[in-house]
Amino acid sequence: MLTTAPHLYIRRPSPTTAEFTVTTCPPLTLPLRLALLALSTLRLSLAATVLFALYTRFITPPTPTTSPTSTNHHPPFPPHPSPSSPAAYLTPAHLTALLHVLTASAPGQHLARLTAPLPPWLLSAVSGALLYFALLWRLHTTESLLVLRGLGIQTATTAAGGALWGGGGLWGWVVGFGGPATRFIPTEKIRDVLINEAFQGFEVRYYLVVVVDGEDDVVVVFPRLLPGRRIVETVWRGVRGCLYEAPPEGGYGYDGQWKRG
């Protein structure tokens, strides 16, 4: 429901510049927006829970054989009285008090009891995996091709799934390595833009390649999604019409009607 088959968006502010985006993200309707919002809230709360579980594990003394009743009788910290003055929100003292209250509360105790039998290495591994999923996992794959007349072609890929470097996601935003992986090819180096076909299993895939001068390999456009032939053909026509200044006689070119794929 949250993802669809890859489809094409075209953005073309002037006839000499065009961006073709193939994405698995469906059109952002209100229900979808709400669902995505709920999902990200869920993920954030999951991350917060994991961090909180680690915190409770950190502050509990390493006595794995204590019965739950004894922990109830001796909570690690006596619950602070919550600060009465409303102006003291978001101060460190208030936050620590809030943490103590949370630790002493029933869900906190339950979480502590849940994580208590796990050995430390297993706990850290599980929480690491959960954090990775919560913060780094991306839902949609978006790949785009930007064509600038007189400058060149740029491919960009933001892949779904986890990414440590060079991806987007929350982590990418935090560390500053956000943004898609891009590759720019100057027009001077472009030998040709072709649609190639390949066998994959028992089907034929059509894909767009850029043949670059002086390189041993071709650059595949939309390498992750490999959209169908209709989209690829639309993009190919668009690229041919947009990239070069004077299309050859009677050849391919921008025919005035581009449809959304």
């Binding site: 953005r11 007189g150 001077e188 041993d216």
Partner: protein, 783 residues
């Protein structure tokens, strides 16, 4: 015309007419005849018709043609710095014109006349007081001169050249509105200028952290040694792929000739790198445009001037004293010390690189210590050359970016050596203080792991290990053999034990030359002290291999076949009965003895693998200490724009852009707003050498051939040191500079600039001063 010649001409005409009077009368008659028969009216009608045709058809067609000529390929490209100061004042846009419709904006000069700016640019007034030669700008930016590109914030009524652009910049809006009479569509490419003073720059290709001049030499060194099978494999794969791509390239029928705009990209990258410095230069000279007011200094200004001049003269005098008398002496002594060191290093390097025969291994190929010493010496030899290159950088504009990778390499290696020495001092002082304890520990480790553990495992193998019923006679024979050698070896180690504290003390002392020295020494020490395991491994592998070979050939005999060496194939063969009998008996015998040999072989093979992995750990530590891209990572975190990894473009939505312009009365051409950004170098490229080394090791040791070798008892060839350590040499030149070259280079350094007493240039402005707050703030004040 001269009056006299007019007179002459008149006399001539009059004379001609009188001489040929009959011709004149004929002409008169002809005119009267034409008038009588309506020739004149008909001619007038024809003229009228032609005029009409001309007016109605030809002029519009010509107009249309010129318009079309302008509009054809009427894509205008404007490069615009985003951090250009915005103001509402009228100004002149100055920059580079790369081709007719491809402009690069450098600066907006406020409140000046375009005509004056044009003449000032031609005379070079705007580039006066440049710190470095001006011709260098034009050479690098690929243009012969800067031009006036257009006007900013000018009302529509002002008539301008059709190729000029009109720009509306207001302090409130991010993207300027650009129009041009000739352009039908416009690409505005916005970029943020890199600051040359902070060594930021952009480039099309990723910055090279390693020196890339010895790809070829490594390949030439070992073109067809048996070692690089995997290399060859890889090369073949690459060649195959290249062939496929070549085939694909033949599909494109039309070879396009790139237009001027497309070819300009490399130039434009340079222009972007220069933009900041050039704008500063232009803005500092704005005050020179126009006429100078004639005014002498006032009395108070003169007093201030003479006071500052006196202070400056004192400073210059002291500086002169220092540079003339003291500095050269210090420099001389330093250079002589450096040369002495260089000569000593040369001798040592010759020794380390000496080979008895070209095919033999040199000292540095065998020992990690020798290699470490060699790397350090090579670095010491390379540093002065690098320093000279970097010093020469100061004599050029800051925007010349060719030496920035050198800078990063130089400081990276300096920092690594400093780090190495710091860690080494800590480690060394610890080792020296606790030499006895460390020696005790090491001898303990040695005896427990290389002697006792081996002995116990051999005796375990001798007595039916894990319930396996081995052949006890053979097991006892082999075990006794190995135990006897181990006994002998342990007595050798016992003899070494008293000397161990001294060795440890020496190692600790050596670590003042860097923590990499003790690591290399420990690595060598490990190989020396475990030589018995190596020989056991060799011996048992040999025995196992022989036995396996014999078993295979006897198995062929058992089936009535044999291996034909001449044809390299299996042929059938008629054996006699006794041959078959003896062969079968031997086969059975050897087959039942095989497990005993296998367990001994496995034991030593595992021990050998453990030692190899220990040495791999040492080598990894060494390569981290020697070549970790520390400086690059620091730069990547601190200022990613100093490590460019290419460029990327971002297409912005033009909706808000258009909305903002709606209030202006005229219609804008279709515009796309594009941001040009620099991609910082990614981590994969930073650690490229490490990845390559890891790949090589993985391919070599985890390949099926190696597993096969291990299973059949063949000797596993160690990875060629030269291949493994191409990483170590990635930051050193393939050929080190000779002693004389270094002498020349060091002496070619320019002497420090003599400070000249500053000449006071009065601010002869056209009513304006260069703003004081320039550079920091974006808005300017005019005083």
């Amino acid at each position: 015309m001269h009056p006299f010649s007019i007179l002459t001409l008149g006399i001539f005409v009059a004379g001609y007419i009188t001489a040929r009077w009959d011709l004149v009368t004929r002409l008169c008659e002809l005119a009267i005849f034409a008038w009588d028969y309506g020739v004149v009216t008909r001619a007038a009608k024809a003229f009228l018709a032609l005029t009409l045709v001309f007016l109605c058809i030809f002029i519009p067609v010509e107009r249309l043609a010129t318009r079309e000529g302008y509009l054809h390929d009427a894509l205008m490209r404007v490069f615009w710095p985003t951090d250009l100061p915005r103001s509402d004042l009228r100004g002149v846009v100055v920059g580079w014109r790369n081709s007719a419709l491809d402009v690069f904006v450098l600066a907006i000069l406020d409140e000046v006349e375009p005509r004056n700016v044009e003449s000032a640019l031609q005379l070079g007034t705007l580039t006066r007081n440049a710190p470095h030669p001006v011709s260098r700008i034009y050479e690098v930016c690929g243009q012969s001169s800067m031009r006036v590109l257009g006007l900013s914030n000018t009302p529509e009524s002002v008539e301008v050249d059709p190729s000029w652009i009109r720009v509306t910049t207001e302090s409130g809006r991010r993207v300027p509105a650009v129009t041009c009479a000739r352009a039908s569509s416009i690409q505005i490419i916005l970029f943020e200028r890199p600051l040359p003073s902070q060594m930021q720059y952009i480039s099309l290709n990723p910055i090279a952290l390693a020196l890339g001049d010895k790809k070829g030499t490594f390949l030439q060194d070992s073109p067809d040694s048996g070692e690089d099978d995997d290399e060859k494999d890889e090369r073949q794969k690459k060649a195959k792929r290249r062939q496929l791509v070549e085939k694909l390239k033949q599909h494109s029928v039309i070879k396009r000739v790139p237009s001027a705009k497309e070819k300009a990209l490399a130039k434009i990258v340079n222009q972007i790198n220069w933009a900041w410095e050039l704008e500063k230069l232009l803005q500092s000279n704005v005050s020179r445009i126009g006429t100078r007011p004639k005014r002498s200094l006032s009395v108070s200004e003169r007093v201030v001037e003479s006071a500052t001049t006196a202070r400056d003269i004192m400073l210059v005098w002291i500086w002169d004293l220092f540079t003339v008398y003291i500095l050269p002496v210090i420099q001389r002594i330093f250079i002589l010390g450096l040369m002495g060191h260089r000569i000593f290093a040369e001798m040592l390097l010759r020794l380390l690189e000496w080979r008895a025969r070209p095919k033999y291994a040199a000292l540095k190929d065998i020992s990690a210590t020798a290699q470490q010493v060699e790397i350090r010496l090579q670095q010491f030899c390379y540093w002065p050359m690098q320093y000279v290159t970097l010093r020469l950088r100061k004599n050029d504009w800051g925007s010349v970016t060719t030496s920035h990778p050198d800078y990063i390499r130089f400081y990276n290696s300096l920092w690594l050596v400093a780090n190495d020495v710091i860690i080494g001092i800590a480690l060394g002082s610890y080792i020296i203080d606790n030499a006895n304890w460390v020696a005790e520990e090491i001898s303990q480790l040695l005896s427990s792991y290389t002697v006792d553990a081996l002995q116990s495992s051999i005796s375990w193998l001798m007595g039916w290990p894990a319930g396996l019923k081995l052949n006890s006679e053979l097991a006892i024979f082999l075990g006794d053999l190995f135990l006897w050698v181990i006994d002998y070896w342990s007595s050798c180690i016992e003899a070494l034990r008293p000397a161990l504290p001294n060795i440890i003390w020496f190692i600790g002392f050596s670590s003042f030359a860097g923590a990499s020295m003790p690591i290399a020494l420990f690595s060598d020490l490990t190989s020396i002290l475990t030589i018995h395991i190596y020989s056991f491994y060799l011996a048992s592998a040999r025995i196992y291999h022989w036995q396996l070979n014999i078993l295979i050939s006897l198995f062929h005999l058992f089936r009535g076949k044999k291996h034909n060496v001449l044809r390299n194939r299996i042929d059938s063969c008629d054996y006699d009965l006794d041959q078959l009998l003896v062969g079968t008996i031997l086969f059975t015998l050897l087959f039942f003895l095989l497990p005993t040999v296998v367990v001994f072989y496995l034991n030593f093979a595992i021990a050998r693998m453990a030692i190899i992995s220990l040495k791999a750990v040492f080598d990894t530590m060494l390569s981290c200490l020697n070549h970790f891209p520390l400086f690059a990572i620091m730069l990547r975190v601190k200022d990613p724009r100093r490590l460019p990894g290419g460029i990327r473009f971002e297409l912005r939505d033009t909706q808000d852009f258009r909305l903002a312009i709606n209030d202006s009365p005229k219609k804008l051409p279709s515009t796309s707003v594009i941001y040009l950004k620099s991609i910082p170098l990614n981590f994969k490229a930073m650690f490229y050498q490490y990845f390559q080394m890891g790949n090589r090791i993985r391919k070599h040791y985890l390949s099926p051939e190696v597993v096969l070798c291990l299973l059949t008892g063949k000797f596993v060839p160690p990875l060629n040191r030269k291949n493994l350590y191409s990483l170590q040499y990635s930051m050193l030149p393939a050929r080190r500079a000779g002693v004389m070259e270094m002498w020349d280079a060091v002496n070619s350094l320019p002497s420090p600039k003599r400070r000249v007493a500053p000449v006071y240039v009065p601010v002869l402005a056209n009513g304006k001063r260069y703003p004081n707050n320039y550079g920091g703030g974006r808005l300017r004040s005019y005083g």
